[in-house]
């Protein structure tokens, strides 16, 4: 009560610090404005094998992130993996764009890289990309390698 003014100033500083920290977390740590889950449009990608791809994995073009994986499902009729990605509305890609799954670093996260084609028609919300290359699965590669070695011996 005696230093009412001082108390009020300190509380003001405290609240401002708290607000600044929240703001900092939003902007500097999570980069809030880039991808709101509601913004952008959705594309469907079909892969034979997606390896360890998870929802929220990045979608990149030439190393620049343009979207995120929104959903991963199994198509029960074709037994293919159906991956829904959400693309930032600022970007448009031709219809003959192809997609591959890569791994960042040796053991890092898997991500989808899009390789834009040359057509004048552009992909719209809900369109499908069928030109895809599956993830490389280590065991399968080793298996193929050993199989080839065996063949060479004959």
């Amino acid at each position: 009560m005696r230093n009412r003014r001082l108390v009020e100033i300190w509380v003001g500083v405290f609240v401002a610090m708290g607000a600044a920290a929240l703001f900092g977390l939003a902007i500097q740590v999570s980069n809030v404005q880039v991808f709101d889950a509601r913004g952008g449009y959705e594309l469907e990608l079909r892969f034979e094998n997606i390896g360890g791809l998870r929802t929220r994995a990045p979608v990149t073009v030439g190393g620049v992130r343009v979207g995120r994986v929104a959903d991963v499902e199994l198509d029960s009729s074709t037994y293919e993996a159906k991956v829904t990605v959400r693309i930032d509305e600022r970007y448009e890609f031709p219809e003959d764009t192809s997609a591959s799954i890569y791994t960042s670093g040796l053991l890092g996260e898997q991500y989808i890289a899009l390789d834009p084609g040359g057509l004048d028609f552009y992909l719209r919300d809900g369109d499908e990309i069928t030109l895809t290359q599956s993830a490389l699965v280590l065991e399968r590669m080793i298996g193929q390698f050993l199989y080839q070695m065996g063949n060479d011996d004959d």
């Binding site: 009412r4 108390v7 509380v11 708290g18 977390l25 500097q28 980069n31």
Partner: protein
């Protein structure tokens, strides 16, 4: 044997009764809150003692926790050649878990115990009784502002803690260990989602703030009006808050990220 059951039953009933009292107490205190709009000064006063006075411990612990995480995370990630992902590791563990939980535990030790002791002493020195006899309801005048200040202070303290912890790990990771600053922030921003991670962390700290302040003011108000009773109330505040926060954290994590 029968005696054992009887004791168990009596104990269970006592616990149930205490929960009931705590709940009624909360309802009465919440009923006193709307009137605080007319007297923001009371809340500001309590924000000072609950929030501002906890700042030092929160700031210091935040920076050090971040620095330790930076060091430990770096050496572990180095094994996998993924040391450039330090930012992701640190940011996710702090924003989701360590920020809200550690802040709540520190809050219980610093502010919760002080609240319980203050209210317990006001009770044992008949200040609360005296207030009642002056036709002032201590629920409105003493309990409600402290409870509200606790609710408000905790998310702010947790945000300050988290932000400083990330800065602390930045200083260690980028300044000392040579992680690339671009990779540190860039990978962090890619991996941390505002709604999934930050907002859920804030929700956690709001819940913890609510529970921690509730326990503190209830234990103080419910304390036996003796010096032993007040000391027990203070201890209980810290212990119960810690248990409640850790238990709730598990439940919340399971619901939010499970």
């Amino acid at each position: 044997m029968v005696n054992g059951f009887q004791r168990l039953g009596a104990r269970a009933l006592a616990i149930a009764e205490r929960f009931g009292r705590a709940f009624l107490f909360l309802l009465r205190a919440l009923a006193g809150m709307p009137a605080l709009v007319l007297r923001p000064g009371l809340v500001v006063q309590q924000l000072y003692s609950v929030g501002v006075l906890s700042l030092v411990i929160i700031v210091v612990s935040g920076v050090f926790v971040g620095m330790v995480l930076g060091l430990q995370g770096y050496t572990t990630l180095l094994n996998f050649g993924a040391e450039q992902s330090l930012g992701v590791l640190v940011a996710l563990s702090i924003v989701r878990e360590l920020g809200p939980v550690v802040t709540a535990l520190l809050f219980a030790g610093r502010a919760g115990s002080a609240l319980a002791a203050e209210i317990g002493l006001m009770k044992s020195t008949e200040q609360l009784s005296g207030m009642e006899m002056m036709a002032v309801d201590p629920m409105n005048r003493v309990i409600a502002p402290r409870l509200l200040a606790g609710f408000l202070a905790m998310p702010l303290l947790a945000a300050i803690f988290s932000f400083l912890a990330i800065l602390g790990s930045y200083v260690i990771g980028v300044g000392l260990l040579g992680v690339d600053a671009g990779a540190f922030w860039g990978q962090m921003q890619d991996a941390v989602e505002f709604r999934e991670d930050i907002l859920n962390g804030v929700i956690k700290s709001v819940v913890f703030g609510f529970v921690a302040s509730w326990i503190a003011v209830f234990e103080g108000y419910d304390a036996e009006p003796t010096s032993e009773g007040v000391s027990r109330a203070t201890t209980r505040t810290v212990v119960y808050t810690a248990l409640a926060v850790l238990g709730l954290d598990f439940v919340l994590t399971a619901v939010m990220f499970g």
